[in-house]
């Protein structure tokens, strides 16, 4: 399913003394099957953009095209539910949305809201649990008896069980230990490939953005600053640093070396192995250009 935002503006608490312009003139295309990462520092409007992708927020100007549906500023929309069935969102700290007595019921909650029969929902719960790497015997437990990492996985399973075409992720790994973080990110990537999903990831980790995304959007003060492939975005690391954003560690190291040796490598490398290769070669050449 293709999604595209056209000149979207959003004001929180519009027409009140507390009105706040969060994003303006945001245009982003997300063709079916894309893995898009959105980066930018706190308050730059990333989460606000995300919430337009399944009509949780409605633009105060501009329009959002979700599949064949158009959400336009100033128009009443009915039956947004069908959009939400196709676009699943994993919020930050998703474990905060758990509420059912058992893990199974909680995972079934989403599908059943969208009219999936109980037996089908049960089957989906089982499958989703397997996907997130949890044992089946957890199904009958209360979600509140689980560890933080397990709760996170159950919450994610609850979104996966809706079998969305588009998966939207808002910093899904905050607070997890390094292994948990990697496992979850790998899981999303596998799903992205296997189910041919579109994935939109908001992250503060430049490593993840560089590693998984096909395309990166940089947000700054409510506007889209630049977009492009990871290679394009990170080929101008100085600009990112000036914005107060990090660059992936690999690139950071390359910059430090280039600066120390007063040299410039032929290209920006996004992989550790490749950078090591480049450095080794450079040093074999006597450390000079």
């Amino acid at each position: 399913m293709d999604i595209s935002l056209k000149n979207v503006e959003y004001r929180y608490q519009a027409d009140s003394p507390f009105e706040h312009l969060a994003i303006s003139d945001v245009s982003i295309d997300i063709p079916s099957g894309t893995y898009l990462a959105i980066i930018g520092h706190t308050g730059s409007g990333k989460s606000t953009v995300l919430q337009h992708l399944n009509a949780l927020l409605k633009p105060t100007k501009g329009s959002v095209l979700i599949g064949s549906r158009e959400i336009k500023a100033g128009r009443k929309d009915k039956n947004l539910k069908s959009i939400r069935e196709n676009v699943g969102i994993v919020f930050q700290f998703p474990e905060h949305q758990l509420f059912e007595e058992t893990v199974e019921k909680d995972i079934m909650f989403g599908p059943m809201n969208f009219g999936v029969s109980e037996s089908d929902a049960k089957a989906r719960a089982k499958e989703a649990l397997q996907l997130v790497g949890l044992p089946e015997d957890i199904l009958e437990k209360s979600p509140f008896d689980l560890s933080g990492g397990q709760m996170r996985r159950v919450a994610i399973a609850g979104v996966l069980a809706m079998e969305p075409d588009v998966l939207v992720l808002d910093e899904p790994t905050a607070g997890l230990d390094p292994r948990g973080r990697k496992e979850i990110m790998d899981l999303f990537y596998t799903l992205h490939k296997k189910r041919n999903l579109s994935t939109v990831l908001v992250t503060h980790s430049m490593e993840d953005a560089a590693k998984y995304a096909d395309e990166i959007v940089v947000m700054h003060q409510g506007k889209v600053l630049t977009k492009g492939t990871p290679e394009q975005i990170f080929s101008d690391p100085v600009a990112l640093i000036e914005l107060g954003l990090d660059v992936p560690e690999v690139i950071g190291l390359q910059l430090k070396i280039e600066e120390t040796f007063h040299t410039k490598f032929s290209k920006i490398s996004l992989s550790e192995r490749e950078l090591a290769e480049m450095i080794a070669e450079f040093l074999r050449g006597g450390g000079q250009r």
Binding site: H41, S147, G175, E249, L253, K256, F261, A280
Partner: protein, 279 residues
């Protein structure tokens, strides 16, 4: 050599109604003026250990002594003055309705006279660069700012030790850097001992000493160099290998000679420069 400020001796602890103990027979010392990082997978007992050091829980077995005083129900209030804690969630530790009220909270609890309080609130906020935010309400602050206010609230009591329990894990990279820089500066200037519980291995790599927790046990203790030499073993423990260590290994593999495995990018670049340039 600095002397032990805290001694932890054979400590075990189980939460009520829990079969597996959260901590099993933990013994180690914390030295005066050091930066000690505690790492370990989710649920490995790090927060529990921090709570014991502050007397928020008491061990079922073993002893803890802080600054020479054994930690008991009777001494806990004195000890708490010496051990400040900053928690993970910036929202859930902000007690006051404004920044100044929040910093004053701990001082009020310890019965500090008002004149001293007024001065300490200001100086501690200045120390964390929040001196101009006196009357701000918490929901108008960023996560990093809230955490710095929490730190101000802790140092206002002039403690010997600050424990950071994943104090930066809910922050964005910039907020995280701000908070760590603030603590580093305080440590150097005020000679505060820092215990930092963290999942951020780059941060742990910059500590003086690292403790690795695994399933409630103290798995390993050593300098960052020693710890990060463990390599794949760390991954087994739910952790990861810091980037400079990975790069050092890769470079060696590609035939670049290095005297040691480097823990920071600066060190790595410096060695490459001194040993390889202008040969």
């Amino acid at each position: 050599m600095s002397k032990p400020l805290v001694t932890i001796d054979g400590v075990s602890f189980s939460y009520e109604g829990q079969q597996t103990p959260a901590l099993k027979n933990i013994t180690f010392d914390i030295l005066e003026g050091e930066w000690l990082a505690i790492v370990g997978h989710n649920g490995s007992g790090k927060s529990t250990l921090a709570k014991l050091l502050n007397g928020l829980q008491f061990p079922q077995q073993g002893k803890i002594a802080v600054c020479g005083t054994e930690l008991t129900e009777a001494t806990v209030w004195e000890v708490r003055k010496n051990v400040g804690m900053v928690f993970q969630n910036p929202d859930n530790q902000f007690v006051g309705t404004t920044v100044r009220d929040d910093v004053a909270f701990g001082l009020e609890n310890h019965g500090v006279p008002r004149e001293i309080m007024v001065e300490r609130v200001q100086t501690s906020l200045d120390k964390v660069q929040m001196g101009t935010f006196l009357n701000q309400e918490p929901h108008h602050l960023s996560g990093g700012q809230k955490q710095r206010v929490a730190i101000a609230g802790v140092i206002a009591l002039q403690p010997a030790i600050i424990i950071l329990d994943e104090a930066t894990s809910m922050l964005d990279p910039r907020g995280r850097a701000e908070v760590i820089a603030t603590v580093r500066e305080l440590k150097d200037r005020e000679h505060i001992t820092v215990i930092s519980i963290t999942h951020d291995l780059e941060e742990a790599a910059k500590a003086d000493r690292v403790i690795v927790m695994n399933k409630g046990e103290l798995y390993r203790e050593g300098t960052p160099e020693q710890i990060f030499e463990m390599d794949e073993e760390l991954v087994q423990l739910g952790l990861d290998i810091p980037f400079p260590v990975k790069m050092s290994k890769l470079l060696r593999h590609k035939g670049v000679e290095l005297t040691k495995t480097h823990l920071t990018e600066e060190e790595l670049v410096t060695e490459l420069w001194t040993s390889h340039s202008k040969m």
